[in-house]
């Protein structure tokens, strides 16, 4: 272990350079962020992830943005264990009827100002599960959504671009 740690001191970081924020995401977000929330939040965002019925593919890629290659924390973005500590809800899945109540509760206890990011095709449109008796609809049918990140699942780079756009809009 010691030699691996020593080696990591002298070898360059594996982390990739920051990607450019997504232009489309910037445009979508322009409406969602006002001056006051910019002042309140400064340069960091706390995210609470809510799986509202995903197949767990999106969760795998959200995990990936925390790895050393993408290292989302360098941008001041970190994941929190409670919606009460969060600025952003990152919601995946076609919102099952069985998760609708829990998602609504999580939204209600997230303090203002807050943003909701719908992650993945299911969260954006219901995906392949749209119309099922067990799905309540896309995330925007349940809670207000400020940013959509498409993909099945979105790649870590897609996620980073979207979150950076959010970051940039909030702290501009």
């Amino acid at each position: 272990m010691k030699d691996m740690m020593l080696k990591s001191l002298v070898t360059p970081a594996v982390t990739i350079p920051a990607p450019k924020p997504d232009d489309a995401a910037l445009a979508e977000l322009a409406r969602a962020v006002n001056e006051r929330s910019r002042q309140l939040l400064g340069h960091s965002l706390a995210i609470r992830e809510v799986d509202a019925g995903s197949c767990n593919g999106c969760e795998l890629e959200i995990h990936a943005i925390n790895n050393a290659i993408y290292d989302v924390e360098r941008f001041g973005i970190k994941f929190t264990a409670s919606p009460k500590h969060a600025d952003v809800l990152l919601v995946t899945g076609p919102v099952t009827e069985n998760m609708k109540f829990a998602l609504q509760r999580a939204y209600d206890v997230t303090p203002d100002p807050k943003w909701v990011v719908a992650v993945g095709d299911c969260a954006c449109t219901g995906g392949v599960f749209a119309g099922s008796y067990a799905c309540a609809g896309s995330v925007k049918d349940i809670v207000p959504v400020d940013l959509h990140i498409k993909g099945c699942p979105p790649t870590p780079l897609d996620l980073l671009r979207g979150l950076l756009a959010l970051m940039e809009t909030v702290s501009r």
């Binding site: 799986d51 197949c55 593919g57 795998l60 995990h63 990936a64 290659i69 109540f101 392949v128 599960f129």
Partner: protein, 508 residues
């Protein structure tokens, strides 16, 4: 096995129509331990209601490694409970009630399971779904099993958990820190997949199968494709079979990398997650470079595969393998030398041999507790029947054993990939799926967490009349409840991660 009649289908395992007496004999065999319950589901024949409802039960004979399906007609909407003799059937029977309204007679636990009273339709797979109102009130108040005693308290956890994981509810009854009982409540990510399958064409079915459990998208697409090929008499070309196995092993390695790091991270050893996170990421980037998708979704289709690799691609795999193997070995030596970490994983979350045998638990959960079952070995399918590999089995049944099984399996998968690349046959990637009217088939594939079964029946129009996917998690989730008993609540994340059961694959 127990069957005196001729099978009604043999694709690729026999299915027999049985009477109640034979049905009960099967349940007795599970209880006696000579056979394992491999699946239990119903078919209400929505495409032809006059055919009446049937209950299907997949049976695995432990000594001979043979699989069969017993089918019991249930024209009156009831069938003899298997769970009253063999508890592992309980959640499956409760699900049959929720989905079809077919009642297991004599069952001890009659609570709803997947239905929380919120779906817009009750008994959605029945010919006549029940009016929502009638069933909603009955299932809304879920009665957890009572635990009484001085100093006991309950800790409810979920459905939303602290980490980036899937939703489910855990009810801990604890005395101080020691867990007296854990009871799971699942079904939160139920999306109605089985209903969406009904009437879907084969291509849409493949999309759905690939999204049953995202971490096992290759395994499910593989099992579904095999079931369709059995039902239609389609033969996938040899090159496609090799590419499927290559993808399946890449998926296994990527998931095992992630799990090994995540287990250690839950014991506060973040160093391991940092490094296995990079190994996993490099694996997914390789998959993207080879097959155009990081998780390899929708690459396996009925009839074959949609993407090929060339010589340069094969070299890329070899280079990745040589580097990853070396680095992973080094990490596992660090794991093995870290006494403070081993102190957390050794003897934690113990599951006995008796329990894994009884539940027929597959994957690393079974193999870490002495149950030697791996679908690639015991129910072999191409191309695994031509590959040279071992099935690791350990006996200590704790978190450490479940982690160590993964470690050995990664090495086995590397060896398999080397063989696949060396012997990759040339030729076509995909055969057209033969058009059929009616037909049925079974696909069983070893996913990273255990065996998945897909049973498929095509209707007269050639579309899917019924498709039932059964995840390995069905027979692992109940053992998680057993593993945490007498451990402390703080060790639950560690136990849970060492199981890494699928919520999505279970809830459907």
């Amino acid at each position: 096995m127990f069957f005196s009649t001729q099978p009604v289908s043999t694709k690729p395992w026999p299915r027999y129509i049985v009477d109640a007496a034979t049905w009960n004999k099967c349940a007795d065999a599970f209880a006696a331990g000579t056979h394992s319950l491999f699946g239990l589901w119903a078919d209400s024949h929505l495409d032809n209601p006059a055919a009446g409802a049937e209950i299907h039960m997949a049976i695995y004979e432990n000594a001979t490694h043979k699989l069969a399906v017993a089918t019991l007609p249930a024209p009156d909407g009831v069938f003899p409970s298997v769970a009253r003799k063999h508890a592992p059937a309980a959640r499956l029977e409760r699900t049959i009630m929720d989905m079809h309204g077919l009642r297991a007679e004599g069952a001890v636990d009659t609570r709803a399971w997947l239905d929380h009273g919120k779906w817009r339709q009750a008994q959605p797979l029945a010919v006549q779904p029940a009016p929502r109102g009638d069933v909603a009130t009955a299932v809304a108040d879920y009665a957890f099993l009572p635990v009484d005693g001085e100093g006991l308290h309950e800790v409810p956890v979920g459905p939303i958990h602290a980490g980036i994981i899937e939703p489910g509810h855990f009810r801990f009854s604890a005395n101080g820190e020691a867990v007296v009982r854990l009871e799971e409540k699942l079904g939160y990510v139920h999306k109605g997949i089985e209903k969406l399958f009904i009437g879907a064409d084969i291509a849409r079915g493949a999309k759905l199968a690939g999204r049953i459990s995202g971490d096992s998208t290759v395994a499910y697409a593989f099992a579904y494709a095999r079931a369709v090929e059995q039902a239609t008499g389609t033969v996938a070309p040899p090159r496609a079979l090799y590419l499927r196995a290559l993808m399946a092993e890449l998926e296994r390695i990527a998931n095992h990398f992630g799990d090994v790091g995540a287990i250690c991270n839950d014991a506060a050893f973040a160093f391991m997650l940092a490094h296995t996170g990079i190994l996993r990421e490099e694996t997914l980037q390789l998959c993207h470079a080879l097959f155009g998708h990081r998780l390899m979704m929708d690459v396996i289709v009925p009839g074959g595969v949609t993407a090929d690799i060339d010589a340069a691609g094969a070299d890329k795999v070899r280079a990745w393998m040589a580097a990853a193997e070396k680095r992973f070995d080094k990490l596992m030596r660090i794991y093995d030398d870290a006494a403070s970490l081993k102190d957390r994983t050794n003897n934690t979350g113990h599951v006995s041999r008796k329990l894994v045998d009884r539940f027929g638990a597959g994957g690393y959960v079974g193999r870490a507790s002495g149950r030697a079952f791996d679908a690639r070995k015991n129910l072999p399918y191409a191309p695994y029947d031509t590959l040279n590999f071992d099935m690791p089995v350990l006996h200590t049944g704790d978190v450490n054993a479940r982690l160590w099984i993964r470690r050995i399996e990664i090495a086995q998968s590397f060896a398999m990939i080397a063989q696949l690349l060396d012997a990759m046959p040339a030729g076509a990637l995909c055969a057209p799926v033969a058009a059929t009217t009616a037909g049925e088939g079974i696909g069983v594939v070893e996913a990273f967490r255990g065996d998945v079964l897909v049973w498929l029946r095509l209707g007269a129009d050639g579309n899917i009349a019924r498709c039932h996917p059964r995840d390995a998690s069905w027979f692992q989730w109940p053992l998680l409840e057993a593993s945490i008993e007498n451990n402390i609540i703080a060790d639950f994340p560690l136990c849970n991660k060492s199981f890494n059961c699928s919520y999505a694959g279970h809830d459907l």
